[in-house]
Symmetry: C2
Subunit: 247 residues, 2 copies
């Protein structure tokens, strides 16, 4: 059944006001009276809803659904600004794979420089991609998207996390293969995890030192060299496998 | 160091003849005498090679390198023909994530119909994508790409596999979450594994029945609905995590 994220205050019945959502509901899906959809408000509970009045965009919330599609831990993916539209892929696939937040920061070896105007535009585009992917993959929460203007701003957020992992190609090359698995096995439910990925050129020695000082663990993600946009998809899949399937 | 797959007979010294490879070596990378690269022949051994003569494209094979980036099991990804360029993404990311073979078959619910001419063109394009990804991710073996004209042709290949897993959304929906993990834990090294994915519309009941009769196990890949091109990336990442990192 079609699912929509609703950013309005929860009330029953509810009149939907977001234009994009209305367009999809009544122009694309052609909903009419008594059709049912799933509405998800900010509390993350999926609710079965019935169209009461398709002209006035009014829905009755029929009942709560006991469906949880969220990872048992809250994973924030932080990417050094990559080139091209790689963040688009991470936004879509990362959302399908359960990430809670997508962050991007200007890494030492980021080639692209984005000014404020460009950042705002990029963020809006990514938020749309995330919303589409979250509705299709039936998430309970809409991942947030955030760009940091400086690396200091980014690192000021580190204190809120229970675990910080830094994907480091050199760790993979030297055959390190247990830090990631050990860290996952010790995670408690609802932990906040930050996963840091470099841009195409990798993570600089200064950054590695700073991340380690801030408590970050360097992890390898297997023996193959993964592109910057592939590594977060690997990590999210591994987290799902470790915490959702292999328990 | 730059790596190239060489489809010629192994000899030392060797004169490289493939035009695309030569273009990358001498036009893009501008190799000159005494520069070093890694050459990988069909035996999967990486060899350090030195340019002896850049005019005649002659290399000396200096020594074998003890580097293995292959998954401990041989994984074949079989996709029901999907729409658009989704196979391109699976070819590139699947190669980075260690797949051995990429197969595509006409599924009951495949929307696209590809004639023979189109199939040949698609296959050539995918082989190029795979080669680029295999060189960048430092694989020892070049994944093969194969299209099947009929589902019967596809299913005739099932006998060669030690394990056949069918990614089935309905399994995920009912909360099944241990078949995949149990199957991976029982895998022996060098096993041949077939992973079957449906097209966008999913796998038909007839197909499910036929695959199960042929020994296939239905597996869920977590509680989120994954797009057809995302599911194989999840499965490959999980296999790497289970067999390479969490051991």
């Amino acid at each position: 059944m079609q699912q929509y994220f609703i950013k309005q205050k929860l009330e029953n019945p509810i009149t939907i006001t977001d234009k994009e959502t209305l367009k999809h509901m009544f122009a694309v899906m052609r909903l009419s009276t008594d059709d049912e959809v799933v509405l998800v408000f900010e509390d993350g509970i999926k609710r079965l809803a019935r169209v009461m009045d398709s002209e006035r965009h009014e829905f009755e919330l029929v009942k709560d659904l006991d469906e949880n599609a969220e990872l048992p831990v809250e994973v924030t993916i932080a990417m050094g600004f990559p080139k091209g539209d790689k963040l688009d892929l991470v936004a879509q696939k990362g959302t399908e794979l359960g990430m809670a937040n997508l962050w991007a920061y200007p890494a030492d070896w980021s080639v692209v420089k984005w000014d404020k105007k460009k950042l705002t535009k990029r963020q809006e585009k990514l938020e749309k991609i995330v919303q589409g992917a979250a509705e299709q993959s039936k998430r309970n929460h809409l991942p947030s998207v955030q760009f940091f203007a400086t690396k200091d701003n980014f690192m000021q957020e580190f204190a809120q996390f229970d675990l910080i992992l830094v994907a480091y190609e050199e760790s993979a090359k030297t055959g390190e293969h247990s830090v990631f698995a050990n860290a996952l096995q010790q995670l408690e439910a609802n932990s906040k995890v930050l996963l840091i990925f470099g841009p195409e050129g990798g993570i600089s020695p200064d950054e590695i030192e700073a991340y380690q000082k801030a408590g970050g663990l360097l992890v390898g993600l297997g023996p193959r060299i993964l592109r910057t946009e592939t590594a977060p998809l690997y990590a999210l899949s591994a987290i799902s496998y470790a915490l959702e399937l292999n328990r």
